[in-house]
């Protein structure tokens, strides 16, 4: 709400220094959003929360000032002479939808002289950012800002049959509003029509045809109460908002409808020389109920934690125009003023008391009790994973989960239905909710590449959204994504460090697998559990994201990983006897994966074999076509005595025999 302090003074003289007044307004909930000196006046923009439409006017603000300063509120007196003609004799109002328009009033002012408003009025309107138009339009705006009740002035002579019909629009009807744009109306929108056509979108904007202009001599003045939800829907649907719709959709004061009309009529008589017709057409439907509620004084300290004396609480409520119906030692019962739609319950009254008592009174030092909590296993491992990936040179990213409908955007490593689609995305091309971090990482990769950062290693521990059949909410799987410029072994190395650090490395296996996502990829398992996948990003994605180079990517199911990590680490005694190391180098079909060779070695039935370690891979010159040479180290040890050289040699021979039978391997000399 934009005000100037001089204008505000018309309604209340707080008798406070300017700064103190602003501070107290802020402390009462009307925060100062902006301020600007206007010479001898001060422009102030107040933040009004959506529950307080009663403060969307100078008088509304003055009411708060009056309550917080104890100074009286001065409402302008409304006086004007009326002609002998009654308004009912020259105009009629039919409200066809009393649900959407519970109250409609009309007055007619004849013989107005349209022209510029007086300087004082223009100055005030312009000071709060309104454009002065002509005296009639300016008066309606002035009164709107003064009391918060939107008004509309029609050129009476342009209304067919001098009739106002408040009805829903008919399908296909259009109106050109005073912003000179044409709007197509729908049948759930309320319009103000004359005998033939809509002349205003109710509560939102008037029509151009019946706008008051230089040739206008007679005015029909509308002041009404429209149903808030309907106004909001219409305003949103038409993408048309105004000072009027802003107030109607928050709810205006039923009781203020007629005062605003009389106030405007009196100004029109005074300023534009018009003659107000006698009486008013006031069509009323169901009146909002009078709200009565009560507050137990004992609840004040229960909610607030400080003692507010009962007298002080009652004083505050009275000052805010709550009518005290009864009061005893325990409670006070009040009638809520008609402009306060936000107050219905005891807690609402407590808030009023707290607000005007002052939140600064709650500055009471009070210790809080402490309790003991332990981080969950998941929490601890989450931190460990982050630390280890950082130690491996990865930068943590935070990515937005909206992705495009492209192969990367649809990528998914998990069991899921089709991705969820956002109905109203900010970026129309990114309307899917990700099922993998990959598309987000490819975006990051592209951004960095385009900003001259060539090689990146990034990770994130975040959620992917996996719709499941028969479930309303998707599964939100927490995954660890890692993207790295480098080859498969680079990224696999990071995974190995990570798994080793979590002491699950020995149980993790990698199995090559085909997928649309990877050109070369593998499924990662730990025991029975699938942990995720790792691979080189496919050509298609490299092209789609304009990447120079092919990054490696891995995605790990975080919960599955946590499950595999032992709850407690148990110490294993160190070996008491020395180990014997033996290396073996074999020539074998190039297609036999190392994993198979290792399995074969481990499965050769050598009890003393403790570890098999890959040493080297060679293919090419000096080797027959389709063959490779693999070297590995075996570590043997007995737990009950020193292993002899002969024992080790025997074991290596057994293993070699096994490799020969299984893979036709040959010893490399």
């Amino acid at each position: 709400m934009k005000i100037t302090l001089n204008w505000l003074k018309d309604y209340v003289d707080a008798g406070l220094p300017q700064e103190e007044l602003l501070e107290r307004l802020s402390a009462a909930g009307l925060n100062i959003e902006d301020r600007r000196s206007l010479g001898d006046d001060l422009y102030v923009e107040l933040e009004v929360t959506s529950n307080r439409p009663d403060c969307l006017s100078l008088i509304g603000v003055a009411r708060e000032v009056s309550a917080l300063s104890g100074k009286p509120l001065v409402i302008p007196t409304v006086e004007y002479k009326t002609s002998g003609v009654k308004v009912e004799d020259v105009a009629s109002v039919d409200v066809l939808d009393a649900g959407l328009c519970p109250r409609y009033t009309a007055r007619v002012i004849k013989g107005v002289k349209v022209g510029p408003s007086p300087a004082w009025m223009r100055k005030r309107l312009e000071a709060i950012g309104l454009r002065a138009v002509n005296n009639i339009a300016d008066i309606t705006n002035y009164v709107l800002m003064e009391c918060g009740q939107p008004l509309h002035a029609f050129d009476y002579d342009r209304l067919n049959e001098r009739r106002i019909v408040v009805r829903r629009a008919k399908a296909g009807e259009t109106i050109t509003a005073i912003d000179r744009k044409e709007y197509e109306l729908k049948d759930d929108m309320l319009v103000i029509a004359d005998a033939a056509r809509p002349v205003a979108v109710a509560g939102v904007m008037g029509g151009l045809d019946t706008e008051v202009g230089d040739s206008t001599t007679n005015v029909l003045l509308e002041s009404a109460y429209f149903e808030p939800v309907s106004i909001r829907r219409t305003s949103r649907a038409l993408k048309l908002a105004s000072d009027s719709s802003f107030r109607f959709e928050r709810g205006v004061d039923w009781k203020g409808v007629d005062w605003a009309s009389r106030r405007a009529a009196s100004l029109m008589a005074e300023i534009s020389g018009g003659e107000v017709l006698e009486s008013v057409i006031d069509v009323q439907g169901e009146k909002p109920p009078v709200v009565k509620t009560s507050m137990r004084f004992s609840r004040l300290p229960v909610i607030l934690g400080i003692d507010v004396p009962a007298d002080e609480a009652v004083r505050i409520l009275k000052a805010l125009q709550f009518r005290i119906l009864s009061r005893d030692a325990e409670r006070v019962e009040v009638e809520v003023p008609s402009h306060r739609h936000d107050v219905e319950r005891e807690i609402d009254l407590i808030e009023e008391v707290a607000r005007h008592f002052g939140y600064d009174k709650f500055d009471v030092e009070k210790p809080i009790s402490i309790a003991v909590t332990l981080p969950s296993k998941e929490d601890s491992i989450e931190e460990e994973v982050r630390e280890m990936l950082v130690a491996n040179g990865c930068n943590e990213v935070v990515t937005v989960p909206f992705v495009g409908d492209d192969p990367a955007g649809r990528a998914c490593f998990w069991d899921a239905e089709e991705p969820l689609v956002v109905r109203n995305p900010v970026n129309k091309r990114e309307g899917l909710l990700r099922r993998s971090l990959l598309p987000c990482f490819l975006r990051v990769k592209r951004h960095n590449q385009n900003h001259g950062v060539a090689d990146i290693s990034i990770f994130e521990l975040s959620r992917v959204f996996l719709p499941k059949r028969g479930r309303k909410l998707p599964e939100e799987k927490r995954v660890v994504g890692i993207l790295r410029d480098g080859d498969f072994a680079d990224l696999k190395g990071i995974l190995e460090s990570l798994f080793a650090g979590l002491h699950v490395g020995e149980r993790v296996t990698y199995r090559s697998s085909e997928s649309a996502v990877f050109s070369q990829g593998a499924v990662i398992t730990c025991g029975e559990a699938v942990l995720g996948q790792v691979g080189m990003v496919s050509d298609r994605m490299v092209v789609d994201y304009d990447l120079r180079g092919r990054p490696a990517y891995a995605e790990i199911d975080f919960k599955a990983l946590v499950k595999e990590v032992a709850d407690v680490v148990r110490y294993v005694p160190l070996p008491r006897f020395p180990a014997v190391e033996r290396d073996l180098s074999v020539i074998i079909d190039a297609g036999v994966p190392w994993g198979k060779i290792r399995e074969c070695v481990e499965g050769a039935g050598i009890e003393t074999l403790r570890e098999v370690r890959f040493v080297d891979l060679y293919s090419g010159e000096h080797l027959p076509e389709g063959k490779k040479s693999i070297a590995f180290r075996m570590i043997f040890r007995r737990e009950d005595g020193t292993l002899t050289g002969e024992e080790a040699t025997g074991a290596v021979e057994t293993i070699l025999e096994r490799l020969k039978t299984e893979f036709k391997a040959e010893l490399r000399s």
Binding site: A27, A28, G29, N31, I32, S50, N51, R232, R236, E249, V302, I303, L304, G305, I306, D342, I350, A354, Y359, F362, D363, V364, K366, P367, I368, I370, A371, T373, D379, E383, R386, L389, V390, A391, N392, G393, C394, N395, E396, V397, V398, T399, V400, P401, L420, V421, V422, R423, N424, V426, H447, N448, H451, V453, I456, I458, F459, K472, L473, E476
Partner: protein, 335 residues
């Protein structure tokens, strides 16, 4: 004799220090300690001393002998390790640096928040980001037709499936399952349609606090917020609360802190007000309690929802919120 021995030791020291090969050391060993060595020579003269002088001189000669032996031994060891160390040494040449990574500023700040509340015994919980209307709206006292439900303020998937617009939905999930006393903190991502610029984004992070127990009051709320803010920004920061409105709390408050850049005297960051807006809070609205089956006559609750992005921006002086999700590695490496 005494002076002679001292002189021998000094000479031996110098020669041994200068030796650069094992052979040279061997030669020195022979020269001083050998059968026809310098020390043998001098010890032979011991007999010529008076019986009173003899024991002291003997001891001294033995000590010198031992000293020279250990000098030779040490020098030999030092010659045997890392001979290249004795080449021209340049401490300014780069080392073999290991790759290093960094945590995202949001994680740094979230960790700090976590640390503060961990000390107070708060449990850390998470809730879904895709929510139903009940948890995101109805139970939070935001009835159908409430403006807060509009498509301009929320991302919708279907009429009853929303990407959460605040972490307060986690409050409902917790209270549906857990009976008071409740003491939780819920960090998380939230989403609200907005045009992206330096200070606005449709994707950001919040941390939600909820405490439900007998006897909790607005005074406790203010104390907890003050404790939290000072834990994060230092003990000198001032905290101010002013009335505000949220459907799920009443009374509600907006929290301001004295500007961490200018200390409250007014600067560009605080727009000359001396205050920075931190986020919303309040006492849990009785309607919310009723929605989850907690008796508001018996229990009271307090809650807040603060923006983590804002904390991070203030803490690190980040002037553009877009940097937080752009993930430019040159930016990320700074944290």
């Amino acid at each position: 004799m005494k002076d002679q021995l001292a002189k021998i030791l000094a000479e031996a020291k110098a020669e041994i220090g200068a030796a650069s090969a094992a052979e040279d050391l061997e030669a020195l060993r022979v020269k001083y300690l050998g059968r026809k060595g310098v020390l043998r020579n001098i010890m032979a003269k011991l007999s010529k001393l008076s019986p009173e002088e003899r024991p002291a001189a003997g001891q001294l000669a033995n000590r010198v002998k031992q000293d020279i032996a250990s000098l030779v031994g040490e020098r030999l060891k030092s010659l045997s390790i890392a001979p290249e160390d004795r080449e021209v040494f340049d401490a300014t040449l780069p080392g073999r640096m290991r790759p290093y990574g960094t945590l995202h500023p949001i994680t740094h700040v979230t960790r700090e928040v976590k640390r503060i509340f961990h000390q107070l015994g708060f449990e850390w919980v998470e809730g879904p980001e895709v929510e139903d209307g009940w948890h995101n709206f109805d139970a939070l006292n935001i009835p159908p037709n409430h403006p807060a439900r509009s498509e301009t303020d929320n991302f919708y998937i279907t009429d009853d499936l929303i990407i959460r617009s605040q972490t307060s939905s986690v409050q409902i999930r917790v209270m549906e399952k857990q009976k008071p006393p409740i003491r939780i903190i819920a960090p998380g991502r939230v989403y609200r349609p907005d045009t992206v610029d330096a200070t606005h984004h449709y994707f950001f992070h919040q941390v939600e606090l909820l405490m439900v127990d007998r006897g909790l009051t607005f005074v406790d709320l203010k104390n907890i917020i003050t404790l939290f803010i000072r834990g994060l920004f230092g003990p000198e920061v001032k905290v101010r609360m002013r009335p505000s409105y949220f459907p799920f709390t009443e009374p509600s408050a907006e929290t301001d802190i004295s500007c961490v850049f200018c200390g409250g005297s007014g600067c560009r960051v605080c727009k000359d007000t001396g205050w920075l807006e931190m986020g919303g809070s309040g006492m849990v609205d009785p309607n919310v309690f009723e929605a989850v089956g907690i008796d508001p006559e018996v229990y009271t609750g307090l809650a807040f929802g603060f923006g983590i992005d804002r904390f991070a921006m203030l803490k690190y002086g980040i002037d553009d919120i877009r940097l937080l999700t752009e993930n430019d590695v040159r930016f990320l490496k700074q944290f």
